[in-house]
Every structure is written in structure tokens, then in C-alpha cells.
Amino acid sequence: MKILVCISKTPDTTAKIAFADNNTKFATDGVQWIINPYDEWYALVRAIELKEADASTVLHLLNVGGTDSEPIIRKALALGGDEAIRVNTDNADPFYIASQIAAVAKDGGYDLIFTGKETIDYNGSSIGGMVAELLDLPYISHATGFNLEAGKAVVVREIEGGEETDKAALPLVVSCQKGMAEQRIPNMKGIMGARTKPLKVVEPVAAESYTSVASYDLPPAKAGVKLIPADNAAELVRLLHEEAKAI
């Protein structure tokens, strides 16, 4: 079994969201970078569990990003994985990124490609599906559970108002979310080991970009809270009905 996990670098969840250059760029000053939580907590940890269950499994990590991605790649390697590949580019267009992943995966012989369900910065949910189409592979998105049974993948995925259980042969692309696995903290042995694991850097292949960010906006600030005394909670219901017309 050979697994590829795609990991992306995102701002920490507490990062201040502000924009520079006339609101055309995300202001990165003072921002801490993390592995996109969906990639780390669910895609990567589930892949590590599969490797733990079958030691012959080969686990590769893939990041499409600049040199500033290397700290998060090392952190991912500290959790697990045999080696990492970084495709050296700062282009953030989803189709361009997916094309890079597909180019690496095409001849890699991977049975499974895992991504997070989305990144917490652009919330695109598009890489997994694009990679699957580029490679002509089936794709199951929003997976909350993944198991192998008699060489086939049995995947539970979230749907509106419930869940669905799917079965598919490998190779397969899966996007992962909560439920797949539990977050892990790298231990000292992992951190030390990660330093010597191979991190291969490859140059991007030629690919189109279809989208670009013209500008950013922040949502308008709230007008301020209207407080209702705790002993008159019925007043809240009246306001929601008559003033906000929300119930």
C-alpha cells in the first residue's frame, strides 16, 4: 500500500486577519503558520494509523509551496510518514496546485491520496476533486471514516442531514474531516527522526491558473449587543419575534 497525503500551510487559527497593499494581500506580519488542521488531524493521522496497521505501507507527504513551507513539512514528518515532496511554487490558484499534485502522483503508484476537506484560509474544497479528475480516479469527499475491507475502501462521508457509506476500489482520492482520526502531538523521537527524513524539492510543471485574488474585504462590524436582564428572558423572545423578525 502506498499513500500520498497532501498538506497545506495555513495561518494559525488565532492569526489576526488583516490585509495590506490596498487590501490586495493578506498581511502576514506576525502570523504563525500551521499545517492546515484538516490535513494534519484527519488526513495525515488516519494515514499514519493505516501504516501502523500494516508496516509495509509507504507514506509520502506532499506540499505545494515555497521554502517557507518547510517548517510545517518537518512538523508533519515528525508525526509520521517516510518522506516528503515539496513542489516549489507560491502560486495559489487551485487548478495550478492540483495540476502539480497530479503530476507528482501520476507516476507515483499511490493507492490512496488523502487531502483535508478544505483549507482554513481559502476554504476552497477543490484540490481533492481536481486531482481526482486530472488522474481519472474516483473521489469521495467529506470523509468522516475510512477503512479497508478485502482490498476495497469503505468510506463514511457526511451528507446534508446525515451520512452515507460508500465502497470503492483503489486507487482512490479522499478528502478528510472530523471523525476520521484524533489529533496527535508529535513526540521527541518523531521530532528528532523528522530531521533526517528525505524532503525532496521538485520544480513545478507548466499548468494554467484560472483565478486570482483581486481584493479582500472584512465583514462590517456588529452594531453592539442589546442586553436583556436574566430575570426577563421572555423579553428576548419578544425582541426576536417583533424586532429582529427572526422567529
Binding site: P94, I140, G161, E163, T165, G179, S212, L218, A233
Partner: protein, 321 residues
């Protein structure tokens, strides 16, 4: 040139978010000086001509029962044939779990730039730019699409449906349908529960509720209001509530009309997923809880004392004994 919208169905019924997408497609078409058409896959019980009321001129159906088994790969191939046959330049999806699975695949097939998470109509004054939610609702980005064809995934609850009257022409489309590689073994839906992503009203509980045994304070109110239920991350992590109820930056991002937060502190990661809600109500015993800064209405008080009063008042309002 035309705009094509994918109408998503589940067990034969059109999803609410698809009506938003239909209305969005119709208004996009109007801006572009063209018409909006729809594509529906699988067997549907709902009256498809009624999509005319949302501005759709023609509904193309592929009533092949094998399409009742959802496989994004098969769907994308059928929709790309539909886009070619109808000459669509813009394809609209609801940005729900099916839309997010199909739209990226279609983007590759049509060589079309994809904007997922759109919250407003495209700005066509200078090119083609679509506003979308980014940083899990903390900001918006205006995305310019440079390809000739475009795909838009509209965030649920982000666009007001407008009805136009009229009926759509319904006609079968002749396309080839591949055999599915993903077999849906079972579908497990909680009957009668409102899907969280589509809900108008969401009642949500945090660690302040002390334990799962107290959740009737959340579920009773939700039932009275026809609301969906949600929770903070730690509540799902300690298994007081199921994972799919976890909202926030690392759970589901939602934008209901009304969000009622009970015993939730309002950490930045929680706010990220809920701050696009139109009206936010916070009930928390700590006046310093950060959630009050993001709220429209608030009660500083003990949920165990306040909630029964609220539930009683809503019962009176709804005329329930």
C-alpha cells in the same frame, strides 16, 4: 451562451440550497444578458417545472436510476456533457457536500475557473469577479476568473431567493452515463432533523451546559423553532454531541438567519464558523465572554435558569401548551 445550474436532490427531493442556486443562476444570467437552465440527475418526485418560479427557463433531466447512486466522477461527466450541449459559460452549484465533490472535477473537464463559497452575484463590470467567504468567514475575497468558462459554488444561506413566477420547460437530455466506481452502500439520515448547513435557525450549546444530560435545553428550543442543533468543538470532542454538529473554523461554517449560542465562550475559532449568521443571540453567565462582542442580543445569566424561561416564552408565542 447560457448559465447552467445543477439542481441537487436527495431521495427524490430537491434540496433547499438548490433553490438558492437556481435563483442565483437566473440573476447571473440576467446580468450576462442570457438565460438560466437547470440540470437534474436521477429520479425526482418534485415538480421540476416549478423551477420556473426561480427564473429557470428550461430544466434538463437525466432520469437514469443509476444516478440515484451518487458518484462525483459520473456526475461531473454527465454535467459536462450538459454544459456542452446547452452552450453554458457559467455553471452554478450549491456549495454543499455534493457541489464540493462535483464542481472541482467539472472545473478540470471544462477548463473553467472555480470560485467555491460565493456569497454574492458576480461583478461583470470589469471582467468576472466573484465575492467569496475566506478565512472561515473572517473575511471575503473578490476572485477574478480569467478562463472563458466559469464555475461558481454558492454558499448555502448566503443569497436571498427571489421568485419570478412562471414555469420551466422540462425535457430529457441525451447523454452517456458511465458505470459508477463509488457504490453507495447505505444512507443514514436523521429523519425530521433540519440539515445544519441549510437551517434558518441554529441552537448551539457549549461546555457551559456541563454535560450531555442537559442537552434538552438545546434540543427542546430547537424543536419548537424548527431549528438545527450545533455545538462547540470541545463538546463534540468529548462526545457529548455527534461530530457533525461541531461548528467553527475546524468544523462546519454556517450562516443561518438566527444563531443562538448557549454556554459557549465565543473563542475566535468558534466565531469564525458562525459570524456570518444574520442575528446572533448569546446566553452566557460570564459578562466578559468574548461572544457578547459578536452578538446582537445577549443575556448575562445562568443557562439553567434562563433557558426554561425562554422555552416557556417560545411555547406561548407558538401557541404550544
Amino acid at each position: 451562451m447560457s448559465v447552467l445550474v445543477f439542481i441537487d436532490q436527495s431521495e427524490g427531493q430537491i434540496k433547499k440550497s438548490s433553490y438558492e442556486a437556481a435563483s442565483y443562476a437566473a440573476q447571473t444570467a440576467e446580468k450576462l444578458g442570457t438565460v438560466a437552465e437547470a440540470i437534474v440527475l436521477g429520479t425526482v418526485a418534485d415538480d421540476l417545472a416549478a423551477l420556473g418560479n426561480y427564473g429557470i427557463k428550461k430544466v434538463h433531466t437525466v432520469a437514469d436510476a443509476s444516478l440515484n447512486n451518487f458518484d462525483a466522477q459520473v456526475y461531473a461527466k454527465v454535467i459536462s456533457q450538459a454544459a456542452e450541449q446547452t452552450g453554458a459559460d457559467v455553471v452554478v452549484f450549491s456549495n454543499n457536500t455534493s457541489g464540493k465533490a462535483i464542481a472541482p472535477r467539472l472545473s478540470v473537464r471544462l477548463k473553467a475557473g472555480l470560485v467555491s463559497g460565493a456569497v454574492a452575484l458576480p461583478d461583470t463590470s470589469n471582467g468576472f469577479t466573484v465575492k467569496k467567504s475566506v478565512f472561515s468567514g473572517k473575511a471575503f475575497a473578490n476572485i477574478t476568473v480569467s478562463s472563458a468558462k466559469k464555475i461558481i459554488g454558492l454558499n448555502p444561506n448566503s443569497f436571498n431567493i427571489s421568485t419570478t413566477g412562471g414555469t420551466a420547460e422540462v425535457a430529457a437530455l441525451s447523454v452517456s452515463v458511465d458505470a459508477a466506481k463509488v457504490e453507495v452502500v447505505s444512507v443514514n439520515k436523521v429523519n425530521g432533523e433540519v440539515p445544519l448547513s441549510e437551517a434558518d435557525i441554529v441552537v448551539s450549546g457549549g461546555r457551559g451546559l456541563k454535560g450531555p444530560e442537559n442537552w434538552n435545553l438545546v434540543t427542546d428550543l430547537a424543536k419548537l423553532l424548527g431549528a438545527a442543533t450545533a455545538c462547540s468543538r470541545p463538546v463534540a470532542d468529548i462526545h457529548w454531541r455527534p461530530h457533525h454538529e461541531h461548528v467553527g473554523q475546524t468544523g462546519l461554517a454556517i450562516a443561518p438567519n438566527l444563531y443562538i449560542a448557549i454556554g459557549i465562550s465565543g473563542a475566535i475559532q468558534h466565531l469564525a464558523g458562525v459570524n456570518r449568521s444574520k442575528v446572533i443571540v448569546v446566553i452566557n453567565k460570564d459578562p466578559e465572554a468574548p461572544f457578547f462582542k459578536a452578538a446582537d442580543y445577549g443575556i448575562v445569566g445562568d443557562a439553567f435558569e434562563v433557558m426554561p424561561q425562554i422555552i416557556d416564552a417560545v411555547k406561548k408565542l407558538k401557541g404550544v401548551a
